[in-house]
Amino acid sequence: MDRIPILKMGDYLLVTVQVDMHDRLAMTLQEDLADRIVEARARAVLIDISALEVVDSFIGRMLGSIAAIARVLDAETVVVGMRPAVAITLVELGLALPGVRTALNVEKGMEILRRSLDASGGNGAGAESLAQPSDADAER
């Protein structure tokens, strides 16, 4: 069965959705990501959907579930690269992706994750921690 690849980069997991996902592929991605977050001790997940020409309520719901599952596993999620026509359609459909953080592109998404991980005392990929030493000690 085909799968969507999940790349690990430091504390981050990167997913680039390149194909029009059928429902089972989307469910598999959700399960694979949950496994990889735990296995790789990932702190953040970045999902690039810039290749997706359509996000229907099923895929929208899956993105929301991934963000919620990641949160429960102590990882943050940012969805990046949504096409303007997809954004217009999603909102008209009645789905504004509550609980899903979004950014315009991978670079901006990384920036959000880095800032948020720094603030919580984690270490982003190649990021310098801005947390006070005492805060960092308290984490350990």
């Binding site: 429902d23 089972r24 359509v54 229907d56 096409r83 026509a85 217009i88 009645g94 789905l95």
Partner: protein, 133 residues
């Protein structure tokens, strides 16, 4: 020759094929990118309804011409249990399945024309159209 195709809808892979067929038809009709995205998304919602609640069925994809306006009409038909209360089924958040209940109402909002006929025990037919402005 105007496009008039009927595709069968039996599995979730067929939903992907229907999205692609609707996209191709919308591009051929030179609908705007936003209109293409809307009708493909509406098709995806309705195809899933036909599959999940109607037990599968067919979708007819027709190119339309009305004077200088061009349009795309999609007809989803199943021989499932039908919808007892159509008005209620059109409300957002109403679902008898595991979805969000946005399918019918969302598809109506994304279309220029929307019609639904359903008879309990006989099946459901949903027709939508999107026209060039």
């Amino acid at each position: 020759m105007q496009r008039d195709d009927t595709l069968s809808l039996r599995s979730s892979e067929d939903i992907v094929l229907i999205r692609q067929a609707v996209r191709t038809a919308a591009v051929d009709l030179r609908l705007s990118l936003v209109d293409q995205t809307k009708i493909v998304t509406a098709a995806s919602e309705l195809a899933r309804n036909t599959l999940d609640y109607g037990g599968g069925g067919t979708v007819r994809i027709q190119a339309l011409q009305d004077g200088s306006r061009r349009g795309l009409r999609l007809t989803f038909e199943d021989k499932g249990p039908g919808i007892p209360d159509v008005e209620r089924a059109l409300k957002d958040g109403y679902t008898t399945g595991s979805g969000l209940g946005l399918g019918l109402g969302g598809a109506r909002r994304l279309s220029s024309e929307f019609a639904i006929e359903s008879r309990p025990g006989e099946g459901t037919k949903v027709t939508i159209a999107r026209w060039t402005s």
